[in-house]
């Protein structure tokens, strides 16, 4: 429960309709897209402007009450679960495109705009905003910025951080700051823009973002390569990159994923294949044709069992559907689906997939793997049941070992989902004790009372590294 006079202040700032502390509002903001996590906030607030956000922050910091800012709550790392109570701030009302600057090719938007709505609008003007998280139909640009979302086009075009060039944000004290701007070059001091992107709501509340837009590619081609040998698929990934071709999309699905995808989407995929690569190239028509032909030859050299180049855009869509339905298909197998986010250098994809398979066998849990092979970002996905405490324990052990394996191969514990609560115990494995204390120092400067999204990124205790036995 909030102090009554704080509640009254917050009500005055946004109006009665946009401050709620009834059961319904608290329950409906006690979770995000992460399985098995839930915690009730004390109140929910819906600001309409930067000034309101600033006034809210001033009131909260006077009472030392924590704040979790969020968009649609579709994240998969527990990033917006209010574990320490306090106020959940929903940014949906701040959802406008403030400016489209066609001379500078930038868009300035409020954080609550839905990513897909923004992208559709930009594309209708003949422009291109490449970050395409799979959740784009629900997720907000603000949420994408907070988590530094990726997607299927990350390999060639980069992720959200590569397109955010300016920010307006409210600090824990309520002060409003501006970073960057419509500038392609800017080295005035530390790069606070990049620091805030991916900071998971722990440093400031983002209230406005200036995004870089680019011209869209003129054409696209899509192909599917199928392999009986997992290593053949993996070698193909490295060989494509080595031959200095950067495809727009280079996606991977393993055998368990192929099976569920086909069972669900009835695409007639060959079930005896160990792996499928989905490859898309875009750009000038001549370049695309040349690249796709070269990629086809690489696939053949690496013993692909069959290669299909889509003849039409519809056929290409059908192939992309196969990849996009992976999560959907896996989610129907068992009640609880835990989608993870381990990332390795792209030359290590095959090793990583083997390690994941060995680990899932060792702990007797079902883990299917798919993901963005081209940028080394894999999504090992456990299908399980949250009500089976013993099985969940084995799943946790398996994932712990998977993160350790990723690091051993020179990788990281998360490529695009963020640390949140789920990865917090493992952060130290990646960045070391001094890395953690440096980050905590930065956090302290921005937010000395630890009011912004507390309990995220930094865990109370780091997990001890597991010792991996090789048979």
């Amino acid at each position: 429960m909030l102090h009554p006079s704080l509640a009254a202040q917050l009500r005055t700032i946004v109006g009665d309709a946009y401050f709620r502390d009834d059961q319904e509002a608290l329950i409906a903001h006690s979770y995000d897209g992460t399985p098995m996590l839930q915690a009730l906030p004390d109140a929910v607030i819906y600001p309409a402007s930067t000034e309101q956000v600033s006034a809210i922050m001033k009131a909260l910091s006077a009472y030392k009450v924590p704040l979790v800012s969020r968009g649609s709550g579709s994240n998969l790392c527990g990033g917006t679960v209010p574990v320490q109570g306090g106020v959940v701030m929903v940014m949906h009302r701040m959802n406008r495109i403030l400016e489209l600057d066609l001379e500078n090719l930038t868009a300035t938007v409020q954080p609550g705009i839905i990513t897909a709505d923004f992208i559709h609008h930009i594309e209708s003007l003949g422009l291109f905003y490449p970050p395409d998280p799979s959740s784009m139909r629900i997720s907000t640009i603000g949420g994408n910025i907070a988590e530094c979302s990726g997607g299927l086009r990350g390999l060639k075009y980069g992720t959200t951080k590569d397109y955010v060039i300016g920010l307006e944000a409210v600090l824990a004290s309520g002060e409003i700051i501006r970073t960057g701007g419509k500038l392609m070059k800017d080295v005035a001091g530390y790069d606070l823009t990049k620091l805030l992107v991916g900071s998971e709501g722990t440093l400031a509340v983002i209230t406005e973002a200036t995004l870089k837009l680019i011209p869209p590619p003129k054409s696209k081609m899509t192909m599917l390569a199928m392999y009986r040998d997992l290593y053949g698929a993996a070698r193909t990934v490295s060989a494509i990159i080595e031959s200095k071709i950067i495809p727009a999309t280079l996606e991977f699905m393993d055998n368990p994923t192929i099976r569920v995808v086909d069972d669900f989407a009835k695409l007639g995929l060959p079930l005896d294949m160990e792996a499928i690569l989905l490859i898309e190239q875009d750009g000038d028509p001549e370049t695309v044709t040349r690249d796709i032909e070269q990629i086809r030859q690489i696939c053949m050299r690496e013993q692909a069992d069959s290669i299909q180049v889509a003849a039409t855009r519809e056929e290409a869509e059908r192939l992309l559907t196969a990849r996009r339905s992976a999560f959907t298909a896996l989610a129907r197998l068992r009640p609880t689906t835990i989608l993870e986010d381990a990332t390795v250098p792209r030359s290590k994809i095959a090793d990583m997939v083997r390690r994941i398979n060995d680990i899932s066998a060792k702990y007797n849990v079902t883990i299917a793997t798919f993901g963005h092979a081209g940028d080394g970002n894999l999504h090992p996905t456990a299908t399980t049941d949250a009500r089976d405490a013993e099985e969940i324990h084995r799943v946790e052990q398996a994932f712990e070992e998977i993160f350790a394996a990723a690091l051993e191969l020179g990788g990281t514990i998360t490529g695009e989902h963020g640390v949140g609560m789920v990865k917090a115990p493992f952060l130290e494995w990646k960045i070391g004790a001094s890395g953690v204390s440096l980050m905590k120092g930065i956090k302290h400067v921005f937010d000395p009372d630890n009011l912004l999204n507390p309990g995220k990124v930094f865990a109370k205790e780091s997990r001890k590294r597991v010792v991996i036995h090789h048979d």
Partner: protein, 456 residues
């Protein structure tokens, strides 16, 4: 592995609140658990879209149900209101990765709420009058039809409107009164008998599900349905003992009444030797195809209910997939320009019966028609059974957005596949559209009017 014993079971909670206890008993805990809160349902949900507020979304409503079942919250008035606020359009189901049966959950929640009624006296009265007193009774429906016909034809309607008596009713009811079609006491059986032969060699024998309101307010559409089926090569039987499908009851939480009616219908249709049971109303059809689920706990009926459910098909789908399609000409067009036609989905036809493409295929086969897909045709129009009467504010807001998209098509004809949607679209055209240039029709009536040689 002792924990295996807990799989699929509800947690052990002693609920003290009576409604919480009933919800705990009636809600399918597996389905509540299957919701992984990914949020993919949010953009599909009309009430979330209107409000942008999490509790007004399927994910939010399921979280509320689960919170009650888990003993995390008491089911208060807001909880009841939130369950009522759902249109039941089920647009969330096809987009759900985990395949959560949301429609069943919302019905279970409403069923539980109905066991602990807090309706005001007038609402209680109206519910009792219609759910128990009218819909299940064929004779009373006919009487209602005749009374309405008398009201409409005798001049009483003119008097009522002229004297301003109608102003005593709330605005949304007055609006509805204005767009009601001509009622009749003579349903399809009274007009065509109980058996109607196929033209040419019969392809199959089908039974018509005539509906309750449908046969009073839209008897003409039922008649056209039978004739269209006959043209396409189907012999049609219409069992006169059939009753209301029970959809409005089920959606409002009167599950026992819905089951009673389902049992009657299953018995009546099972006695006939038919290949298909044809529905021409998406809302009815969606419950009919789920009779197997509705009666799945009833050992004596579940097998027959499965027989019934497996035979139910919407007229458009039956015509497209199995019929000998008659030629459709544009006899009514006054110019040589193609007439622009658009289509508003019946949510239940699309999301539950999964037959959204068939009506579009049929419309596209009509000569001299230019089919214009409406933006967000798949989004609920706000009718949703009796939702537009019980939740006029939200329904009105949804309708207003719908009409922006309808008007943008510039269509001469706006077609639908369900009586509720049809009335709502008429209301929309009257209030926000171009009633002079746009006509709202059931797909069946449109097709029938454009059939070559129908008068031969």
């Amino acid at each position: 592995m002792t924990s295996q014993a807990n799989i699929g079971k509800k947690p052990q909670i002693n609920h003290t609140n009576p409604l919480a206890r009933t919800l705990f008993e009636k809600l399918d805990y597996d389905q509540l658990t299957n919701c992984m809160r990914c949020g993919f349902c949010l953009p599909a949900c009309p009430t979330f879209r209107e409000t942008g507020v999490e509790p007004e979304s399927p994910r939010g409503r399921i979280a509320l149900m689960k919170a009650v079942a888990d003993g995390l919250m008491e089911p208060d008035d807001r909880f009841r209101d939130q369950m009522d606020h759902c249109l039941g359009c089920r647009a969330c189901e096809p987009v759900c990765p985990a395949d959560v049966k949301y429609g069943q959950l919302i019905e279970q929640a409403r069923d539980a709420i109905e066991d602990h009624p807090v309706h005001s006296i007038p609402v209680k009265g109206v519910r009792k009058l219609f759910f128990k007193g009218v819909f299940p009774h064929r004779k009373r429906l006919k009487t209602l039809g005749r009374t309405l016909k008398f009201y409409q034809k005798s001049g009483l309607q003119r008097v009522a409107r002229g004297t301003g008596v109608m102003r005593l009713f709330p605005k949304h009811l007055r609006d509805m009164e204005r767009i009601l079609p001509d009622a009749t006491g003579d349903g399809v059986v009274e007009q065509l008998g109980t058996v109607y032969p196929a033209k040419g060699t019969p392809i199959a024998r089908v039974a018509l599900f005539r509906g309750c309101i449908m046969d009073v307010m839209f008897a003409g559409t039922n008649v056209n349905t039978v004739k269209l089926l006959s043209e396409a090569g189907f012999e049609v039987v219409i069992p006169p003992e059939q009753v209301c499908c029970g959809a409005l009851h089920a959606h409002s939480g009167e599950m026992e009444l819905a089951r009673d009616m389902a049992r009657i219908n299953v018995r009546v249709f099972k006695e006939l030797d038919v290949d298909y049971i044809v529905s021409n109303a998406g809302g009815c059809g969606a419950l009919l195809v789920e009779y197997d689920h509705l009666l799945h706990e009833d050992e004596a009926w579940k097998e027959q209910a499965a027989w019934f459910a497996s035979r139910v098909v919407d007229i458009s789908k039956l015509l497209v997939e199995h019929g000998r399609l008659p030629a459709f000409s544009e006899s009514a067009a006054s110019s040589t320009e193609p007439v622009v036609v658009t289509y508003q989905d019946s949510c239940h036809l699309r999301n539950v019966m999964r037959s959204g493409t068939a009506p579009r295929q049929l419309i596209s086969q009509v000569a001299n028609v230019s089919f214009q897909e409406m933006r967000e045709a798949d989004r609920c129009c706000g009718s949703a059974g009796i939702y537009n009467v019980t939740q006029p504010e939200m329904a009105g807001q949804i309708l207003e957005h719908k009409m922006e998209n309808v008007n943008a098509t510039g269509a001469r004809y706006l077609l639908t596949s369900n009586p509720g949607c049809l009335l709502q679209m008429k209301l929309g055209v009257e209030q926000h559209g171009c009633s002079e240039t746009m006509e709202v029709k059931h797909v069946v009536d449109f097709l029938y009017e454009r059939m070559n040689g129908r008068n031969a």
